[in-house]
Structure formats: structure tokens, C-alpha cells
């Protein structure tokens, strides 16, 4: 009798334990996760507002009248959106000429960077040649040299060969790996990630390194190529001092210089300045949204390990 009772007790206990395991912790864990997620979302939205609000404020400012400007936050949205401001901003400076000039520089810079950095990265990642590892260290070290150390002598060099006032100093260096140490590093990581078997079997089939580079490496590293393209695009499009130093012909001025000229012409007219700023930002924003998935993937894959 007693044994039976004990058994029953044990069984009851067991049942209780199992239900405990299945139900109670499950519920609390789920609830805990939910609370955790809600807190994270709230913090992210709060910070996110601080990051995105300046953009929204830029847009509403661009659509305000002059008198609405002076009322600050009393007027969050303009009573009548002044789309006219954008038209005025475009007409105030040769806007489309500046856009065209920036695109010319971007085109050559992207082409040059892709050309020099992919080839060099392949040499560092997949070929064995004397001095390779030492030169790789040299390449990383070049990232630490202040640009001013190089700027002064290269400026003098360009002056001596008559390149001042032309676009050449803003184009040629990209074909020689200028400023692309980080991209070479990034691409090397990608190339190294491609399995040896793949290249070796191609070699057995009689493929040359050049063929492997074109037919296997480049197609397999698209996210990295997009990342490099995007970074170069943004750098050149947004660069202010390069064009300021080297360009003098008004017909060559870029959008960053144009925006600056606009500022000195219309200082205080913040609605027009914001309209002009938005217009100059549009191409980079569009390209960023277009390519952002590959872009984030491109950086994430590189896994910078110090």
C-alpha cells in the first residue's frame, strides 16, 4: 500500500516536473524575449530618430518660405510646400554642368580603382612571388601616412608636368592604386575566401591565371566589387579638397565645389541651401539604397581581423 502511494507520489511529481519544463519556462522565456525585443526596438527607434531627423528637417526646411524659416519649430511643416525653392536652387548655379563634371570624375575613378585594386589584390591573394608579404605590409602601412605628406610633393610634381588646372590629377592616381590600400585589403580577403580546389582544377584544365581572374574570381566577388565601387563613388562625389586644389576652369567644377559656391552666394537663405544640398545628395542616396545589400555584405564578409 505504502509503496504504491509512494509510487503515485513520485509519478505525480514527475508529471509536475515535466509540465513545468514544457509550459512554465517556455512562457516566461517567450515573454522575456518579447520584453527584451520591445526595449531594443524602443532604444533603436529613439537613436534612429536622432539619426534620421536631420534629414527630415532638411527636407521641410527646403520647402519653407523665408518667413517660415524664422519661426523655427513653431512651423514644423510649411503651410504651402515651396517646390519653387528647388527650381531656384537649380537655376542659381550651373547645376547640371557640375553634376556632369562630378560624374566624369566618378566614372574614371571607379574604373581606375576597380582595375588597379582587383589585379593587385589577386596578386596578393593567389600568386606566390618574391617580396609579396613584405609589400603587403608596406601597403597596409601606407594607410597610416597623413595625406598632407604626399599632397605637397605630388602637387609640385603635377605643377611641373603642367597638370594643374586639368582633371588628370583627379583621375590618373586611381589607375595606379592611389588611395586604394583599404580596397586591395578588402578584395584580397574575398579572393582568399574562394576555395583552392576551384582554381586548381581550372589550372589542370589549362586555364591561365588571367583567365581564372576574369572568369572565376571577378564573378564570385560581386559584393566586394560593388562595395569598392560604392565607396569610390561616394568619395569622389563628395570630395571637396581634391577638386578645390586641382581644378581652376569654371567649366570643370564639381558638385561639391558648386554647393560651396552656392553657400557663399546665398548665405542665410537656408531653405535654398537645403534644397541645393538635397539635390547634390540624391545620386549618392539612390546608389546607396540600390546597392546597400551587397554593400553591407561586402564589408561584413571582409571580417577585419586587425
Amino acid at each position: 500500500m505504502e509503496v504504491n502511494k509512494n509510487n503515485e507520489k513520485i509519478e505525480n511529481n514527475e508529471v509536475e516536473i515535466t509540465t513545468n519544463v514544457i509550459q512554465k519556462p517556455f512562457m516566461t522565456r517567450k515573454r522575456k524575449k518579447l520584453i527584451h525585443d520591445i526595449i531594443i526596438h524602443m532604444v533603436l527607434i529613439l537613436f534612429g530618430t536622432m539619426f534620421i531627423f536631420p534629414f527630415l528637417w532638411m527636407l521641410t526646411t527646403a520647402l519653407k518660405t523665408n518667413s517660415e524659416l524664422l519661426q523655427g519649430t513653431d512651423v514644423l511643416f510649411p503651410a504651402v510646400p515651396q517646390w519653387e525653392n528647388f527650381r531656384l536652387a537649380i537655376k542659381a548655379v550651373p547645376f547640371f554642368l557640375y553634376i556632369k563634371n562630378s560624374f566624369i570624375l566618378v566614372f574614371f575613378a571607379v574604373a581606375g580603382t576597380l582595375f588597379s585594386s582587383t589585379l593587385t589584390a589577386y596578386a596578393f591573394a593567389k600568386l606566390e612571388w618574391p617580396g609579396r608579404d613584405a609589400l603587403f605590409v608596406v601597403m597596409l602601412a601606407t594607410m597610416m601616412i597623413p595625406m598632407q605628406v604626399l599632397l605637397i610633393p605630388t602637387y609640385i610634381m603635377y605643377a611641373k608636368i603642367g597638370w594643374l588646372g586639368t582633371r588628370l590629377p583627379l583621375i590618373v592616381p586611381f589607375f595606379l592604386g592611389g588611395g586604394s590600400a583599404f580596397y586591395i585589403f578588402l578584395l584580397r580577403q574575398f579572393f582568399k575566401g574562394i576555395p583552392k580546389d576551384l582554381t586548381e582544377s581550372a589550372i589542370v584544365d589549362g586555364a591561365s591565371h588571367f583567365k581564372i581572374f576574369i572568369k572565376i574570381m571577378l564573378p564570385l566577388t560581386k559584393p566586394a566589387l560593388i562595395t569598392v565601387t560604392l565607396f569610390t563613388f561616394m568619395f569622389v562625389w563628395n570630395d571637396y579638397f581634391g577638386p578645390l586644389i586641382y581644378l581652376s576652369d569654371p567649366d570643370h567644377l564639381t558638385i561639391a565645389l558648386g554647393l560651396r559656391a552656392f553657400q557663399s552666394q546665398y548665405s542665410g537663405r537656408y531653405n535654398l541651401m537645403m534644397a541645393a544640398s538635397i539635390l547634390t545628395m540624391l545620386p549618392t542616396l539612390l546608389i546607396f539604397f540600390f546597392a546597400q545589400k551587397s554593400f553591407i555584405e561586402g564589408i561584413t564578409f571582409s571580417g577585419i581581423k586587425g
Partner: protein, 307 residues
Amino acid sequence: MATQKNKALGKLRSEERVLGYIFASPWLIGLIILGVFPIALSFYLSFTNYDMLGAPGFIWFTNYRILLSNDSLFYTALFNTLYHVAISVPLGLLVGIILALLLNSKIKGMGIYRTIYYLPNVVSVVAMSLLWLWLFQPSFGLVNNLLSPIYNFFKMEPLLWYQSSDMSKITLILMGLWTAGGSMIIYLAQMQDIPSELYEAADIDGANGLQKIFKITIPLMTPSIVFNFIRGLIGGFQDLTVSYIMTKGGPGHSTYYYSYYLFDKMMSDNAMGMASAMAWILLVITLVITMGALSLNKYVFYLGDQS
């Protein structure tokens, strides 16, 4: 089959010794023309009085002596830069790490948040400067508008931000935090390399969320922290666009940074020798601080290989 493979590979190995140089030639040529030669030239020029007109005259250490012992603006500019770097770099690291930790959790809509936080990095420095000129505008700007209840409560005058020499550096530093998403992406990249087994093991040992962050995530993030730290330092010492456009170095030289002074020496005065000396002083400062940062390497944790 195996010998055929080895033969093909062996032939290619010998080719590679030449091919390596051919593939790397664009960069190698650039390294010599745009790297080694300019560095040597810049070092030489720093001992001359070259002004783009006559031939460079060798004047030994005169440039360095004038800068270091006889130029108060040099020290003003150096102080401004050190002040800026000393505050903005650690602050930027902190914000970047916090953002990355927040964005590393597995919840819905992460892609959207990442895009939003990264977005300011897409904007050109000129456009960003114009935007913040407007946001920090003392009388009608958004920031002072939002802060006006606080000003009223403490019965204080609204802050003048970039228009006052006391606040101008802080204003530029605060502005810089808007682009902390750039370093965040690099932290995130590294966080995703951390094996999930580590967290599972910690769960079994009963570690809570904070413990996991401080005992696993942050130690394993140290390589990218060092990377971003050095990147921030080098960038911080070189940056002049924001002060050039927003404040013109003012008010009263309060945002006149080292690289701004160097740029003026170079472009306004054509004092190439003096500017080169400044560039070399900057190089030495950068190297010393970077080496200091790299000596922290013994506290850096590497996952897997040390490469």
C-alpha cells in the same frame, strides 16, 4: 592524373614569380611614383625654403625651429587638433560600439535600422556642414529651439554653438557623432564572426546578457576597436573640411586645426618647405600615437589564426 595535376601546378608556380609583379604592377608603379618618391621629396623639402618660384634653398632645420619655437599659431592649431581628437575619437568609439551592440540582436527590421544609422555617412561633408550650420543656428536653428525649455528652466542664455569660441570645437565634435555608423558597420562585421557556441556555452553556465557582452562580445571585438581607433586618430588629425566650410577656422582661431594651418601655408603662402615640415611633424605625431595604440595589441583577442 595526380602527376599531370602536379606538373600543371608546378609550371604555374614558376610563372607566378613573374606574374605576381605583372598583376601588382599598377599598384607597384603607383607606390613608387605616388608614394616612395613623394615621401622622399617631402622630407627633403621640409629642410628647404621652397616656394614654387625659385630653386629650393637648403636651410637645415630652420622650418622646424620656426614652427616649434617661434610660432604661436602653430601651437594654437596643434592644441585645437589634439583637443578635438582627444574627445571625438573615444566618444566616437563609444557611440559606434553601443550602436553595434544594439544592432547585433536578432530582431525584426534590423536591415532598416542599419541603413538608417549608416545613412549620414553617405552625405558629403559640404552638404553635412550646411545642414548643421542650419541645425545649430543659434536664433532659429532646430537644436536651440528644442533646448529652449531647458534654457528657460535654468534661466540661461541660449548657447551660441559654432558662433562662440568656447563652444565651437564641441559643436564640431557633436556633429561628428552623426557619422558614427561608419565604424558601427565594421564592429558588426566582426561580431558576426563570433561563433555562436561561445554564447551557448555561456548560456549553459548561466551568464546574463551584460556578462555575455563584457566577457565575450567586447573582448572579441578588440581587433576592430583598435582598427577604428587608429582610423579615427589618423582621420582626426587630417580632417579640415568641416571647419573650413562651417567656421573658416573661427571664431578667433578656435577651430583652426593643424591641417587647416598646413593647408593655408601650402595654398595661400606657397610655403612648400614650411608646409612639408608641418606634414612631417604630423607624421611623427601620428606614428607615435599609432604605435602606442598598437602596443595595446597584447590586450587584443584574436579568434583563430593570428594573420
